[in-house]
Amino acid sequence: MDEARLHALRHRHLIGLEDFSREEIRLILDTADSFKEVIRRPIRKVPALRGKNVVNLFFESSTRTRLSFELAEKQLSADTLNFASTGSSVSKGETLGDTARNIEAMQVDCVVVRHSAAGVPFFLSQCLSNAVVINAGDGAHEHPTQGLLDLLTMRDALGDLEGLKVALIGDVAHSRVARSNIWGLQKMGAKVAVCGPPTLIPVDIEAMGVEACHRLEDALRDADVVYALRIQLERQQEAFFPSQREYTRLFGIDPERLELARPGAIVMHPGPINRGVELDSRVADSGRSVILDQVTNGVAVRMAVLYLLNGGGERDAA
């Protein structure tokens, strides 16, 4: 298939993969591939973002995503600032709009934002006239850089994404990782099945183009990728499932169940893993697991996104 190759992204911000085209996603993945080479060097630093400043605004606690972004920024020679605070603008006593205006007033080039409320990165992108906004996870909406690093990891392990069958297992309802994967994978031609108890599969998920099922066996059959989502144990209290024991009995991925998937199928997880709950340790630590590759690729993908959105390549006229 002869597809137009892009040299720059059409979007100014990265809010979600729902908005991004196949060509844009491919450009990010290809760019990430070249940054992987940088990461392997003894001196892992390029001057691409020298003189640019990036603020990491984390309104929700995060360890790996924040570290991954910070590493990506530093390896691109950007000046980085971190701001971490949990809670809503109401509890902080400053409105989100004021936070945005303050950022703008400081002449910030790029804002990486994580927030527990869906829509905050979009809100900021509407308020900020100069800075680039990168969504590092907003509520249950999207986590686009996670989606991209997952795509890159699948491409590394399995080659072309076209025609792959990916099974997303677990708490799809509360998962921004699931939504970004659903958009990204389908744009690249993969098929997505989601599986979990009906309480954790959001209504009308089929409208996003995926197949939904409630029997793990159905989801695993012929899957090229078995993607276990993190289950939040607090969900028991809200009656989404009766107990951890029953969840694991019905949806936990163990070596026997993994046999139902295609030979050569890979196992993924966004981390942190609840070992023995959604993933049996024998699976998480097996040769099928690419979970640590996901982490490594996270840095490369974030370097690519930061680079492309901050003037890397030429901004497409369209």
């Binding site: 409105t95 869906a118 909406h141």
Partner: protein, 446 residues
């Protein structure tokens, strides 16, 4: 832009007692059966029959050619925020907004601070509202502090001037309390206005639960949160013989519940708000907090069912659910933003543009739903241009268009989901008890 209306506070005539006539307008008044080009006579704040030719000579005249002459709208569901939330709205500003929207009577919800749950609070609103340009009808709380536990002193509230009982945006959770309220209120013939929402089913919800909530990652409010309570309340009304009014119904199933209840003879009525007749959950893709209302905007199928229910009379009334919110209460994260939309100033033009002009609702039925029926449900004067009725009427210019601009609102709050929308037709004059309380140039011709 809507031309800047001049509220003259003056009179059509030089004195209330003077004989006046609105000439050559298209009078639509289902209460008196008029739907014709004709004249409307009034004197001493009341509509009168055409006087003798001799007497008529001295009358002052308002030319209404090309205008509709309608009974003033009666809005069953508004939040006027006074006392307690004057930064959002006052009785004065809310009444000015009503007048600009062609609303001559507004019922205001008791979710003030303090709540309107005792006679002094109701009298306070009555007294404060005595000087404002439209009629204000307080709705008193069903339970003390709207806490759902203890009945208010309904008899005293009725004497103080409460026209209905409601705990506003709180469902009376305990069915035994609601049963007693429906039974007890029968003595005073007051309707209980119910907001139907099971808080355990809607907890944490931000928008309609459906494909768009799923896509946007926003927690949903399922339709059944409304429907289970609507069904329960209707059964309680049927059991007790009390009067129940379901306000701002939002789902197709609720419309069906009301329809079948009416067929069984249950004393139930219902209203719908303009946003629910026009907008759907799909619009929330922009995370625009002005689209966050309670109950939430539902699906296209729900909108169709609401329109059908309004047209066939299952839904008795259109009410604005005017809920003023400050800029800061809206300009924030979607999940933190307070729900609600200001609606008094756009209600009639939205209904005209979306339902009347396309032929989905006749003017006659529109007047029934926005004036005659709500006035009847609340037991107030008005809703009629028959001789002897108060001279509460409006002139509406059906041609031309205007663009909704919150900055031009008379309301203290501009939180409208219709900002920037081009609407057809506009109110050009509002008259309450024979006094002009709002006057505006014609909308721009299109």
């Amino acid at each position: 832009m809507r031309p800047d209306g001049r509220v003259t506070g003056g009179r059509v005539t030089s004195g209330d007692a003077e004989l006046s006539v609105v000439r050559n307008g298209h009078i639509v008044d289902p209460a008196s059966g008029r739907d014709e080009i004709g004249d409307l006579w009034f004197r001493d704040g009341r509509i009168i029959d055409r006087p003798s030719d001799d007497e008529a000579k001295g009358a002052s005249v308002v030319d209404a050619a090309g205008r509709l002459v309608l009974p003033g709208l009666v809005d069953m569901h508004t939040h006027l925020c006074e006392p307690g939330y004057e930064y959002r709205e006052t009785l004065e500003s809310g009444a000015a907004a009503a007048a600009a929207g062609g609303v001559t009577g507004v019922a205001c919800m008791p979710d003030t601070e303090p709540d309107l749950d005792d006679a002094p609070a109701v009298r306070f609103v009555r007294e404060r509202a005595a000087g404002v340009p439209v009629h204000v009808y307080p709705i008193a709380a069903v339970t003390a502090g709207r806490a759902g536990e203890r009945l208010t002193e309904i008899g005293e509230l009725a004497d103080a001037g409460a026209v209905a009982l409601s705990d506003a945006e709180r469902t009376v959770r305990n069915p035994a309390i609601l049963r007693r309220a429906l039974e007890y209120a029968r003595m005073f013939d007051l309707p209980i206005i119910a907001h139907c929402e099971d808080p355990s089913l809607s907890a944490g919800g931000l928008m309609h639960e459906g494909s768009h909530a799923t896509r946007l990652g926003l927690k949903g409010i399922p339709s059944i949160a409304e429907e289970t309570i609507a069904a329960r309340d209707i059964m309680l009304a049927e059991w007790t013989g009390g009067r129940l009014h379901l306000t701002h119904v939002s789902t197709a199933v609720t419309v069906g519940l009301v329809r079948s209840a009416k067929q069984r003879g249950v004393r139930v009525t219902a209203d719908v708000s303009p946003p629910h007749l026009v907008l759907t959950d799909e619009a929330l893709s922009s995370y625009d907090t002005h689209l966050k209302v309670n109950p939430p905007l539902r699906t296209r199928a729900d909108v169709e069912a609401l329109r059908e229910g309004l047209a066939d009379g299952t839904i008795d009334a259109v009410a604005s659910d005017h809920t003023p919110r400050s800029v800061d209460e809206k300009n924030t994260e979607f999940q933190e933003a307070l729900p609600g939309a200001a609606g008094l100033e756009t209600m009639l033009s939205v209904v005209y543009t979306e339902l009347i002009a396309p032929g989905l609702l006749t003017w006659n039925d529109a007047v029934r739903r926005m004036s005659t029926a709500p006035s009847g449900i609340l037991g107030t004067e008005g809703g009629s241009l028959a001789s002897g009725s108060p001279a509460d009427f409006i002139l509406f210019h059906p041609d031309g268009t205007w663009t909704v601009d919150p900055a031009s609102f008379r309301s203290r709050s501009g939180n409208t989901p219709f900002a920037g929308r081009v609407l057809k037709g506009g109110v050009t004059m509002t008259v309450v008890a024979g006094r002009v309380v709002y006057r505006c140039d014609d909308p721009e011709s299109s």
